[in-house]
């Protein structure tokens, strides 16, 4: 099946393939990632990791280590700056969580947590020094299973609690900025009676810490033609970026220079400043290339303070190389969700009521939003007529979690889709039809009532994606012969819907047209491989009518004056930064028109910018962009950046000020209206073949049909759609954490213990396509796509498996060969649906 290249559009650059400006460096090995930098006199550091899942450091004896030749310094948790508050773009103060994750600790809360670090003249010496340090640890109670801690008398992950509870923000005091408080740590225990449900293999649903509902769920269930009550568990999975979070740092003239991977160049600067307790103006951050993030490096990683503080202490550059095993401990992971869904269906398959309960395995540190997101994603994607969502976010002594591509969305979809597939079979409704009847459309409502109203999407065209995808995949032909054994082989087809947030608003754009006639675009977007760092700026060239070859992009180094930019997480960038690009291009065009009118007469609106000129409409007088740039320098003021808009972020003010006087400066904030919440959608189709004698299965064919609005860069989009689909597929094929429950120690620590899909785990040709209906609430009409394919990839394979093998095979993901064989033999799902990390 060929890839579908979206049809050509009204644009010259938008929607067209091109070669990104970073590719030559990548393909020749010249691209520098963090560990590729060297500095004179560079030291190396190594970490001492906790051997226990929970302990208290009673004493550290480093005398023998510090006496070794070549050992320069030790860094302990006592020397870290205290957690500091931050302020978001709205001026809201985000109060620091005193229980948040820090780079080093005196109370390790998971096995593998760094306790201290040593810097030495080489890595071998540093490692030998670590071996000589005596750390006196007092073992403390621990728990690695979220249900175990909820049981009466169950152990707690922290000495003072086991569950995060999100509190409503307090009303701001007069004259003070509004503040966001960290979640409250509480101790939550359920009753033995609550756990009676577990004996039937159903998730107990004791008292939740958070809940919302919309509509009459009880009536919806009562009036349903079919009610299903299903328990499903998704796995913990590590991000496993191929580039570990290695960092090199040094100080010069009071400024700290940090080389590390990030998803978001501009946004990492305030994070580094906050973590190190220095002013933003004293941070220089260099990250031109990042070896993957997937949510684990949204603003770099707090571990970077270790080499930075050791560099300060020793007066020398320090390189911290993070090993694959260390990355497993500190590289973050997606939390497992234990889910229970009670869903009512009409005889046509419409969801009359949905009662959702999730327990989130949060790890011991900062609260992740996966439980929260799972409810909203399920709400917007399946449009239940009534819905209740309840959750508990539980702490365990396992590595800290963070957002992982489609956080909460993937898990919610993986829990919900098998229910929908089972309902379709029971009701005799086609799998595509049952999704279409429940799919969102237009300004689709979702989530709880706020001031009597639900929030709503900006737009949704997933029905078109389902229709076109079913046609392209030949769904109706393929579904006929599935589930029939041919020898030991049996085929199955699966379809899944998927969605996630697809963009934010309110960021800045910045470029200069210089007297050489070129457009110098400043990009604050991180370069983690999605190519959004360059793709979004095609909008500037498109609107100015400038050939792409005449645009020079600067990125990846904050000493080069970059604008304030959205974090590249949650599929924000394509949406947020095409808006900023549109705003700044419009500013540039207006300034060109004004300059032309000043020099050549008439009004600004009499002029048009095209073909590298600003000229009078209908022909006549005009000037080249090069000439206009020279005039801008002479005019000064707003034209060359000496006067700046009042509403841009201070980060952009600093950058624009440094760049002023070099040409015509365009600088603007995205203030376009935006009615609704932006989501992107994917309809995913898969066919698998399973062998009932070996339990093995493989994917025969795969199509992801996306609704992402206007397509910016087809090849990059295809990489995102299929790449993130396969990340989701990994959760079905075999990725999970395994823990020794008795000692609280991880068994899966390396790639081969929990291996991401390889090139042999997928078909040798996969297909993607895009609906290409612009989103009406954003100027270019583009939405993001990083997150939405993940849930679809995972669930389409799950649904294809149940189509092939029946509904009584699995009750959790991943679905491995041994599960398939054992379940087929038992005639029921041979999986304990409730234990974690097995």
């Amino acid at each position: 099946m060929p890839n579908v290249t979206p049809p050509s559009s009204k644009y010259k650059l938008i929607g067209k393939n091109y070669t990104t400006g970073d590719l030559y460096a990548k393909v020749t090995g010249k691209a520098k990632y963090a560990e590729d930098y060297r500095a004179d006199g560079m030291l190396f550091c190594k970490l001492a990791l906790s051997p226990m899942p929970h302990a208290r450091v009673r004493g550290i004896d480093a005398r023998a280590a510090l006496a070794m030749p070549g050992v320069k310094a030790i860094l302990t948790a006592d020397e870290l700056p205290a957690p500091a508050n931050s302020i978001n773009d709205n001026g809201t103060v985000i109060l620091a969580n005193p229980r948040g994750y820090q780079a080093l600790t005196n109370e390790p809360l998971f096995q593998g947590q760094p306790i201290l670090a040593v810097a030495a003249i080489d890595e071998l010496t540093a490692a030998e020094a670590i071996e000589k340090i005596k750390i006196d640890l007092e073992p403390l109670p621990f728990v690695v299973d979220p249900l175990a801690t909820l049981r009466p008398g169950g152990p707690n992950a922290r000495t003072d609690g086991n569950a995060w509870v999100r509190l409503p923000p307090p009303p701001p005091k007069p004259g003070e900025r509004p503040a966001l408080t960290p979640p409250e740590l509480q101790t939550v225990k359920w009753t033995s009676q609550d756990f009676e449900e577990a004996k039937q293999g159903r998730l107990p649903t004791g008292k939740p810490t958070e809940e919302w509902h919309v509509g009459d769920v009880d009536a919806g269930l009562k009036n349903a033609a079919l009610v299903l009550d299903e328990t499903f568990v998704t796995p913990n999975t590590s991000h496993q970026c191929l580039e570990t979070r290695s960092t090199m740092a040094y100080w010069q003239n009071g400024k700290v220079y940090v080389h590390t991977g990030t998803q978001s160049t501009a946004q990492t600067v305030p994070a580094i400043a906050r973590w190190l307790g220095v002013d933003v103006s004293n941070v220089v951050f260099i990250s031109e290339y990042t070896g993957g993030g997937f949510g684990s490096k949204i603003t770099g990683d707090i571990t970077l303070v270790i080499p930075a503080l050791l560099a300060k202490k020793t007066g020398a550059p320090v390189m911290m190389r993070i090993t694959r095993e260390e990355e497993n401990f500190i590289g973050r992971g997606r939390p497992s969700l234990h889910g229970r869904m009670k869903v009512g269906f009409s005889k046509e398959g419409r969801i009359t009521a949905l009662d959702m309960y999730v327990i989130c395995d949060n790890g011991p540190y900062d609260m992740v939003g996966d439980a929260f997101s799972s409810g909203r994603i399920v709400s917007v994607l399946y449009q239940p007529q009534a819905m209740r969502w309840r959750s508990v976010t539980v702490l365990t002594n396992t590595p800290p979690r963070s957002a992982q591509s489609s956080p909460g969305g993937m898990q919610g979809i993986a829990i919900m889709e098998p229910v929908l597939a089972k309902a379709a079979r029971k009701l005799g409704v086609d799998q595509v039809a049952i999704r279409r009847i429940n799919a969102p459309e237009g300004k689709a409502p979702f989530g709880p009532l706020t001031a009597g109203k639900q929030q709503y999407a900006t737009s949704a065209f997933i029905k078109e994606a389902l229709d076109r995808g079913a046609e392209q995949f030949k769904w109706n032909e393929r579904k006929v012969n599935t589930g029939k054994r041919n020898g030991s082989k049996v085929r199955g087809v699966g379809v899944s819907m998927s969605t996630y947030s697809g963009g934010t608003t309110g960021f800045d754009g910045l470029f200069i047209i210089k007297p050489d006639g070129k457009v110098y675009i400043q990009s604050g977007v991180g370069n983690l491989g999605t190519e959004s760092w360059t793709d979004v700026h095609r909008v500037v060239a498109e609107l100015l009518g400038v050939p792409w070859e005449k645009c020079e992009l600067t990125w990846g180094n904050t000493s080069k004056n970059l604008p304030w930019t959205c974090p590249s997480g949650g599929s924000q960038t394509t949406h947020a930064m095409t808006r900023a690009a549109h705003a700044v291009a419009s500013d540039g065009i207006l300034k060109l028109q004004q300059i032309a009118a000043k020099d050549l007469g008439g009004k600004p609106e009499d002029y048009v910018v095209a073909n590298e000129r600003v000229s009078r409409k209908g022909g006549g007088a005009g000037m080249s962009l090069a000439q206009a740039a020279q005039r801008a320098i002479k005019l000064g003021g707003v034209y060359d950046g000496h006067e700046l808009p009042k509403d841009i972020n201070n980060f952009t003010v600093v950058s624009a000020t440094a760049l002023s006087g070099q040409g015509l400066m365009a600088v603007a904030k995205d203030k376009y209206p935006h009615d609704g919440n932006t989501f992107s959608f994917v309809a995913t189709f898969a066919e698998i073949e399973a062998d009932v004698e070996t339990g093995q299965y493989h994917i025969l064919d795969f199509l992801a049909y996306a609704d992402v609005g206007t397509v910016l860069h087809p090849r990059a989009l295809g990489g995102q759609i299929l790449g993130r689909s396969i990340l989701g597929i990994g959760h079905t094929l075999g990725q999970k954490w395994v823990y020794d429950q008795q000692y609280g120690l991880p068994v899966s620590k390396r790639f081969h213990h929990t291996k991401p899909p390889t090139i042999l785990d997928i078909p040798d040709k996969m297909a993607w396509a895009a609906v290409e209906i612009p989103d009406p609430e954003t100027p270019i009409g583009s939405r993001g796509i990083g997150e939405p394919p993940v849930g679809g990839g995972c669930a389409a394979i799950l649904n294809a498996l149940s189509d092939a093998l029946g509904d009584e095979v699995f009750r959790r993901a991943p679905v491995t060969s041994d599960v398939i064989l054992a379940s087929l033999e038992a005639g029921r799902p041979a999986q304990d649906p409730l234990r974690s990390n097995i």
Partner: protein, 214 residues
């Protein structure tokens, strides 16, 4: 189907019998009761100069890397990837796992792909080593397989790219006209965490086509 063993750097029974794999060393270490956890590490200082012992290898050796003779001082336990990255300045070869799991460090040794994290430097003195930096011509003209990546916008973050490229170039030497499935199998020792396999395979197939036309 090509002989898959040829591309398995962990295989100590390949045609290069004097290459010592990490697996062999681990076996010997276990046999002699010596515990070693320092294979990831290296020593740049003179503070801890290694004493010469009977049977010890020379420290100052000559390597043939990308057609150049390079003199380099190596420790006996030093792996090729560390020598390339930290002694010879060839940082295009990446360390993804340092334990033969991911293939990010793949280089060609006498035209055969090897995980350079699992090859001891002193075992490849008389070998022809090629890294990503040695693929393009001195005038900057890209190797046809590199050009395939440019043509198809292959790879996302590209941390795995040099490993995939070297594995592909090595595979194409024994099967210059593979099907997608054959090439996928040939480079299946390399992990891409961005999971951009579909586009990578398209780019590598284009590279194979470029190579045949060249």
């Amino acid at each position: 189907m090509a002989d898959h063993e040829l591309t398995d750097p962990g295989c100590s029974h390949s045609n290069n019998s004097n290459l010592i794999s990490r697996r062999d060393v681990i076996k010997s270490v276990i046999a002699t009761g010596v515990v070693s956890s320092t294979s990831y590490l290296f020593r740049v200082s003179k503070v801890w100069a290694q004493a010469s012992a009977p049977g010890a290898v020379d420290r100052l050796i000559t390597l043939n890397v990308n057609g150049q003779q390079r003199r380099v001082d190596v420790m006996k336990q030093e792996t090729l990837v560390m020598t390339l990255r930290y002694k010879l300045g060839l940082t295009g070869t990446k360390i993804g796992c340092d334990q033969a799991e991911c293939g990010a460090c793949t280089v060609l040794i006498d035209d055969v792909p090897y995980y350079s994290c699992s090859v001891f430097t002193h075992t490849v003195r008389d070998r022809k080593i090629q890294t990503i930096e040695g693929l393009a011509k001195p005038d900057g003209t890209l190797h046809p397989v590199q050009q395939g990546v440019i043509d198809e916008q292959g790879f996302q973050c590209a941390f795995c790219m040099s490993g995939f490229l070297m594995a592909t170039v090595g595979f194409l030497k024994i099967n210059p006209n593979p099907t997608r499935a054959e090439l996928a199998k040939g480079i299946s020792g390399n992990l891409c965490r961005c999971q951009d396999y579909d586009k990578i395979l398209t780019a590598m197939m284009r590279g194979a086509e470029n190579l045949r036309k060249a």
